[in-house]
């Protein structure tokens, strides 16, 4: 959620039950402003909160002019001092795929995982048990990246593509209409498109190249992994992801207010197919 409209956004996203206490809110308002100034971000988003056993991580992301460019992620334990996280790589993802369970809340905590590795010593090939240590920081980076790629949502029309390539925020976005807001096809993944090129020419003909340049949520697998609801008597549409429980996207139709926040344990819900 945008740092500029933090308070309103928190209130609109409160339907999922998780919010921030007043002291955190106050700290966020000031510290995010400072972060924006120091790192020279164009926009700062309060990404959310990952609940750990000992402490919670508060995550913020900074965007540059191009909205789809790789974002810088920062974390904080007390909403006042922010530290930059390294960008995510494939290797990190592989490493963290073996780690399961809750976050500890200590960034230097090391998860230990024993692996069997083949070690070549000369001509002998034998397997050795190697203890691989994965730092929680790495895990944090990877999880945030996965969540972003999987379930970060933006409504159709909020961003537009300029002819030169960069994606800009659409200042004339007045919000989705009430009927559009209830359809999953009006929402896009906030990431580089993956499936767009697989569409047939016929489908592409109907798209508006300046607005429809991202994947929509409609074709997500498994089908039904999004829960779309109207709250507050039809004045607020809330999308909740079932794959990453804790991600809430809210949008008030016909207004410019939209945003998403993740408050959860940082674990993927692998049991989703059983639960639907």
């Amino acid at each position: 959620m945008d740092e500029e409209s933090l308070l309103l956004s928190l209130e609109l996203a409160s339907g999922s039950g998780q919010g921030l206490s007043p002291d955190r809110r106050a700290s966020l308002l000031t510290s995010l402003m400072l972060v924006k100034r120091d790192y020279r971000f164009d926009r700062v988003l309060f990404w959310g909160r990952i609940l750990g056993l000992v402490a919670d991580y508060y995550i913020a992301q900074g965007l540059s002019e191009d909205q789809l460019a790789p974002r810088k992620t920062l974390y904080s334990l007390n909403c006042m001092e922010w530290s930059l996280l390294p960008p995510a790589t494939e290797e990190m993802e592989m490493q963290t795929s073996v780690v399961k369970g809750r976050f500890m809340g200590d960034p230097s905590h090391a998860y230990e995982h024993t692996e069997l590795q083949r070690v070549n010593e000369g001509e002998k090939v034998f397997e050795e048990e190697v203890v691989v240590q994965v730092k929680e920081e790495i895990r944090l980076v990877s999880i945030i990246d996965q969540i972003d790629k999987a379930v970060a949502v933006i409504p159709r029309g909020a961003l537009f593509k300029t002819p030169f390539g960069p994606i800009r925020v659409n200042r004339t976005f007045e919000g989705l209409s009430s009927s559009e807001a209830k359809k999953l096809s009006s929402y896009f993944h906030f990431r580089e498109p993956v499936e767009l090129k697989n569409k047939t020419l016929l489908e592409k003909a109907d798209l508006d190249p300046s607005l429809d340049f991202m994947d929509s949520l409609e074709h997500d697998i498994p089908k039904g992994s999004w829960s779309i609801q109207m709250e507050r008597g039809n004045t607020l549409v809330v999308l909740r992801s079932l794959l990453w429980p804790g991600l809430t996207f809210y949008h008030a139709p016909r207004t410019k207010n939209y945003g998403y926040i993740y408050v959860g344990t940082g674990e993927k819900n692998i049991d989703l197919p059983f639960m639907l």
């Binding site: 209130e11 409160s14 339907g15 999922s16 039950g17 998780q18 919010g19 921030l20 206490s21 007043p22 002291d23 955190r24 609940l51 056993l53 000992v54 007390n78 399961k100 369970g101 809750r102 039904g224 829960s227 779309i228 609801q229 709250e231 507050r232 008597g233 909740r240 079932l242 429980p245 959860g264 344990t265 692998i270 049991d271 059983f274 639960m275 639907l276």
Partner: protein, 684 residues
């Protein structure tokens, strides 16, 4: 009963002079033009007084019509009774007189009852006058006595009826005091003269009666008619409006409102307000903890709970939490009905479980039949469904509270059925999202016995049993302590608030989990909080000794024991080396004003806060348990054996074609041999 004045002689007409002093202005203002040129002066005063009277009547009647409809509804009946009585006594017919009256009386604006009564009384007296002129006085007296007795009787009846304002008795006192007023002057023009035997004593008594009557307070407030009239006239005299007659009604109403409203305030105290919890305070604390819905949503929930309390006979009520669903979410209220108020809901039969079990039975039956070759008798399946564990009684164990759900504040509240042990057992095996519709089926394996309402209720029961905690010492056990040993594994199941609870410092609450205790009973693997042996048949209590012993053996092996009530959290089982609870201070920057927040790791979404002497539990989440491993659905049951092999049924392989042909050939040979033998036999 009634206080009959000592002198039956009626006070005659010139009471008007006195009355003038009492109510001057109204009389003047109520002058109507009546066609009575020949009536003498004194008699003229009668219509004025009568007008006054009738004005009085009208006012009160307007009061009646607005406020006390009960009174108005009674008056016609009373009137008729009175008239009936009178008719019985008098046996009179007034053919000609009645016609005169209505035209006379029409310009007046009072209702017809008074008119009729006046006409009847007048007719009575007139007739008697016509009948006998000599005994005028006597007849008058008698005539007066009767109606007066009637009137008085009516008056007393009125008193008996306890301040029921009725039209007839409104003008009663005056009439009784001066019955001459009720007669129209035209017919009885001369009468007032004759009745002018004034005696001050009964008059004064009558006046006192009248005043006492006026001072009676009304039903709805502490104001009496007398006071109200005083207020009204004072107001009119102070303000001196230009057309007071025209404004009379509105002035009357406004005066009444001025003095009426403070008295009426006390009636509207809400007694039901005590049952509704203070949601806003809890929402404040939860907000400090960083949990919970926004404050306007909380307020809407408060209003919705208030509505619920008004609709149902609720003793205590609590906002349990919110369960998110796919299309809609559920707001859950935990409620306890008043003693004895609980209605028995229709028994919702377990559709899914029972039907499925029967289906299994039928399949095995068919299997058996298919395999039989020789016997015609159908075999009964030997499979019996496992005994059903009875569900817990209301207000016990898992069914201690009743739960109401609604989708959004403002929608109607729906009551959830009680939970049965089998539902809890099955709910532990499945993991499904809630759709938001209570009647949606729960399609799962193993099949859940019930629809979404039952599944929701089962999850609520599990969450309550696992995550409802309170600071140590807030609740204590009752005074009975002797049953602890006898109950064995059952333990105590009731607790009460500790009046001496002084609160635990917030830092200590956060430090150690031993400072928190569960105050809901743990649900045993059986699905209940108190163990029940399903094999025992409660009806057949007189089991043979041998059977009892055999059962006891099973009992001891199967009895399930859970942690007793009020166990501290430090004794909760860990999840994969992880404590099941996480405790924090709500704000580390100001620890002296912080709230202790405890979060469950086993049921993500369950929170509890405690501060000084207050605490609260809430759940906001999807309604599922956290499991570090993947969800493994139960495997289907192993394939059943088709039939038991025994001496009766033995599976044999079918004979092959060669064998059959060999058999057939062998039989043919035998027949041929027998035929030859017979031929040979016959030849001999």
């Amino acid at each position: 009963m009634g206080d009959l004045p000592p002198d039956p002689e009626p006070p005659p007409q010139p009471t008007s002079s006195l009355r003038n002093s009492q109510v001057s202005e109204r009389r003047r203002s109520r002058e109507h033009s009546r066609p009575q040129p020949t009536v003498p002066e004194e008699v003229q005063q009668i219509p004025l007084d009568a007008q006054l009277l009738r004005g009085c009547r009208e006012l009160v009647s307007s009061q009646i019509n607005r406020g006390w409809s009960q009174g108005a509804s009674l008056t016609p009946s009373e009137n008729f009774i009175f008239q009936a009585e009178e008719a019985q006594r008098g046996g009179i017919e007034y053919p000609s007189l009645n016609t005169g009256f209505p035209s006379e009386v029409q310009p007046q604006t009072y209702s017809s009852e008074g008119r009729l009564q006046a006409s009847h009384n007048a007719s009575l007296i007139l007739q008697q006058l016509q009948q006998g002129e000599g005994n005028l006085f006597q007849q008058l007296e008698s005539a007066y006595q009767e109606p007066r007795a009637d009137l008085l009787g009516q008056y007393t009846r009125y008193q008996r009826e306890d301040l029921q304002f009725s039209q007839d008795t409104q003008h009663g006192p005056y009439l009784r005091d001066d019955p001459a007023l009720q007669f129209s002057p035209s017919e009885l023009g001369f009468m007032p003269f004759n009745m002018e035997v004034t005696e001050p004593e009964p008059r004064e008594l009558a006046v006192q009666n009248a005043k006492a009557y006026l001072l009676q307070t009304s039903i709805n407030c502490d104001l009496s008619l007398y006071e109200h009239l005083v207020n009204l006239l004072t107001k009119i005299l102070n303000q001196r409006p230009k057309d007071p007659l025209f404004l009379l009604e509105s002035l009357h109403r406004s005066t009444r409102l001025e003095f009426y409203s403070p008295g009426s305030g006390k009636v509207t105290v809400e007694k039901a307000g005590t049952a509704v919890p203070n949601i806003m305070e809890k929402a404040f604390y939860l907000e400090q903890a960083g949990v919970g819905l926004s404050s306007d949503e909380s307020f809407r929930i408060f209003m919705a709970l208030k509505q619920l309390v008004g609709q149902q006979p609720i003793h205590t009520c609590r906002f349990w939490g919110k369960i998110l669903g796919l299309s809609r979410s559920y707001l859950v209220a935990e409620v306890e009905f008043r003693e004895g108020e609980e209605e028995e809901e229709e028994e919702e039969e377990m559709m899914g479980g029972g039907d499925v079990m029967e289906a299994h039975g039928e399949e095995s039956d068919e299997g058996n039949e298919g395999e039989e070759k020789a016997t015609d008798v159908t075999r009964k399946p030997t499979w019996k469904p496992p005994p059903v564990v009875p569900k817990e009684e209301s207000r016990n164990g898992a069914n201690k509270y009743l739960y109401f759900v609604c989708n959004e504040p403002g929608r109607p509240w729906v009551r959830l059925p009680h939970v049965t042990p089998i539902q809890i057992v099955q709910a532990r095996k499945i993991k499904k999202f809630f759709t938001g519709f209570l009647d949606a089926p729960v399609i799962s394996y193993p099949p859940f016995p019930g629809n979404e309402a039952n599944y929701l209720r089962a999850q609520i029961a599990r969450i309550s049993a696992a995550t409802h905690i309170s600071p140590l010492g807030f609740y204590q056990f009752g005074e009975e302590e002797g049953d602890e040993e006898e109950e064995g594994g059952a333990g105590r199941d009731s607790y009460e608030e500790n009046p001496d609870f002084e609160g635990i410092p917030v830092l200590e609450l956060v430090d150690s989990m031993a400072n928190w205790v569960h105050h809901t009973q743990h649900i045993l693997p059986q699905g209940r909080c108190t163990w029940v042996n399903p094999l025992q048949k409660t009806e057949e209590e007189e089991l043979g000794e041998e059977e009892e012993k055999a059962d006891e053996g099973i009992d001891e092996a199967g009895q399930e024991v859970g942690p007793p009530l009020l166990t501290p959290l430090s004794e909760d089982a860990e999840i994969m080396h992880m404590s099941p609870w996480t405790a924090r201070l709500s704000c580390s920057l100001s620890p002296q004003y912080s709230v202790a927040v405890v979060r469950s790791n086993l049921w993500p979404g369950a929170y509890a806060y405690a501060s000084a002497k207050k605490f609260e539990n809430i759940y906001i989440g999807w309604g599922h348990k956290y499991s570090p491993e993947n969800f493994n659905p139960s495997l289907p049951a192993p394939v059943q054996q088709e039939y038991p092999s025994g001496p009766e049924i033995v599976e044999m392989s079918d004979p092959t074609v060669e064998e059959e042909q060999a058999l057939a050939a062998a039989e043919q040979e035998e027949e041929a041999e027998e035929a030859e033998e017979e031929d040979e036999g016959q030849d001999d």
